[in-house]
C-alpha cells in the first residue's frame, strides 16, 4: 500500500513536471516579460477608464438640446490672440505630443543596442516635450478660467436657439442692433465680477436674455483634460526617474536591452493614444 501510494505520487509529480512547464516558472507567457505584460494590462484598464469618461461626455452631449461649438470655444492662442484662431493652439499641443512620442521611440531603439548616451538624450527630449505640453495645457486652462470665466458651475459659452437682434452691446465686438440666427455661438463676458448676459429681441418681439451653456461642458472639459494632463505629469515624473536610473547604468547592467525604457515608453505612447481621442471628441467633433 505504502509502496503503491509512493509510486502514484511519483507518477503524478512526473506528470506535473512534464505537462506543467508553463506553471512552474521559467516560461514567459506570450513571449513577454512579466513587467511588459502587466504594463499592457494596466494600459487596457486605463483605456477603459478614459473610455468611460469620454462616453459620459458623449451621453451628456446627446442629452443636451444645445452644446458649445469647439471652434468657437477654442479660438484663443495664448500670448498671440484672444480670438480668431480656431483650433490652432490645440493643434500645436498635438504636434508637441506627437514629437515627444517619436523621441520616445528613438530612446527605446537606442536602448535595444545598449547606447546609454543615446537613450539619455532622446529621453531628455521626450521629457522636454511632455513639459511643453503641460505648459500649453496650463495656458489653455488659464485662458478658460481667468479670461473667459468658465467654471464648474457656470459655462458662459452658449448657443442661440432662435434668431433675434441684440438690444445692447458687450464691448467685445457685439453692438446693440447686431442680429444673429439660431445656432450662432456666444460668450457671456464678465463685468465687475458678474456675468453680463445680453438682452435681445426675438423675431416675435419678445425680450429675452442670453442663457448660459450646459455646465456639463466645463465640468467634463476640466475632468477629462485634467485627468489626461495628470497622466502626462506622472509620465514626465516616471521618465525622469527612469532617465536618472539609465544614467547610473542600472538598466545597462541588467542586460535586457533596457526593457524598463521600453515599458515607460509604452505608457508614454498610451498618453499620446488617449490624446488622439480627447482631441477628436473635444476639439474636432
Amino acid at each position: 500500500m505504502a509502496q503503491e501510494t509512493l509510486t502514484h505520487d511519483h507518477d503524478t509529480q512526473h506528470d506535473v513536471d512534464h505537462q506543467g512547464e508553463n506553471w512552474n516558472g521559467g516560461n514567459e507567457p506570450f513571449k513577454a516579460s512579466y513587467g511588459k505584460l502587466m504594463m499592457w494590462y494596466f494600459l487596457l484598464s486605463d483605456a477603459f477608464t478614459f473610455a468611460g469618461l469620454l462616453i459620459a461626455y458623449g451621453t451628456l452631449r446627446f442629452s443636451s438640446p444645445s452644446w458649445p461649438v469647439p471652434d468657437f470655444v477654442f479660438q484663443a492662442f495664448p500670448g498671440v490672440a484672444a480670438h480668431g484662431l480656431p483650433l490652432i493652439f490645440v493643434t500645436v499641443m498635438t504636434f508637441i505630443l506627437i514629437v515627444s512620442s517619436v523621441t520616445m521611440v528613438r530612446a527605446v531603439q537606442e536602448g535595444h543596442r545598449y547606447n546609454k548616451r543615446g537613450v539619455v538624450v532622446w529621453m531628455f527630449a521626450t521629457i522636454i516635450g511632455g513639459a511643453m505640453f503641460l505648459g500649453c495645457q496650463a495656458l489653455e486652462w488659464y485662458t478658460l478660467i481667468v479670461k473667459e470665466h468658465m467654471t464648474l458651475s457656470y459655462n458662459p459659452f452658449g448657443t442661440h436657439t432662435e434668431s433675434g437682434t441684440y438690444l445692447e452691446g458687450d464691448g467685445h465686438g457685439i453692438n446693440a442692433g447686431d442680429t444673429f440666427v439660431a445656432g450662432d455661438s456666444y460668450l457671456i463676458h464678465m463685468h465687475d465680477g458678474e456675468y453680463h448676459n445680453l438682452k435681445y429681441k426675438t423675431a416675435d418681439g419678445e425680450t429675452k436674455t442670453q442663457a448660459f451653456g450646459p455646465k456639463a461642458f466645463g465640468q467634463l472639459f476640466f475632468a477629462i483634460t485634467g485627468f489626461h494632463g495628470f497622466h502626462v505629469l506622472s509620465g514626465v515624473v516616471f521618465l525622469l526617474i527612469v532617465m536618472v536610473n539609465v544614467m547610473s547604468g542600472l538598466y545597462h547592467d541588467r542586460g535586457n536591452h533596457y526593457e524598463m525604457v521600453e515599458k515607460i515608453g509604452l505608457y508614454w505612447h498610451f498618453v499620446d493614444l488617449v490624446w488622439v481621442f480627447v482631441f477628436l471628441v473635444f476639439y474636432l467633433l
Partner: protein, 139 residues
Amino acid sequence: MGLSYEEGKKAAYKGFILLLIVTLLEVGIALVGNGHIIDGFHLSKLIMYPAMIILSLYKAYFIVQEFMHMKYEAKGLAMTVILPTLLLVWAVIAFLSEGNFWKVKRAAVDDNAEMIQPAQQDDGKQESYIPEPSEFRVK
C-alpha cells in the same frame, strides 16, 4: 523587435510624418467644414464626422501597432489587449442612444410643464398639483 536599427530609425521618422499629415488633415476638415477657410463654404456634418472619426481610429491603430510595437508581439498578447476594447463598441452605441432618449424625454417634460399650469385658488395660493406618470409620456 522585427526591424534592424536603421530600419527602425527610418520607420520612426516616417511615422512622425504620417501622424503629422493625418492630424493636419483632421484640423483641415474641421476648419474648412466649419467655414473658417473659404467664406460661405461649409461641409455637411455627415461627411465631416465620419471622416474625422476614421482618421483618428487610423492614428490610434498606427500608434499601437508601430510605436507600441504590438505588431511584433505574440498574437495572444495582442488579442488579450485588443479584443476586450471591442466591448466599447457596445458601450458607445448604448450610451449615446440613452443620451438621445434623455433629450427626447426632457423635451416632453418641458412641454408638459408649460401645458400644466396650476389653477389659482381664491386665496391666491397655488393648488399643489401632482402629475400622473402618463402625462410624461413622449408625445
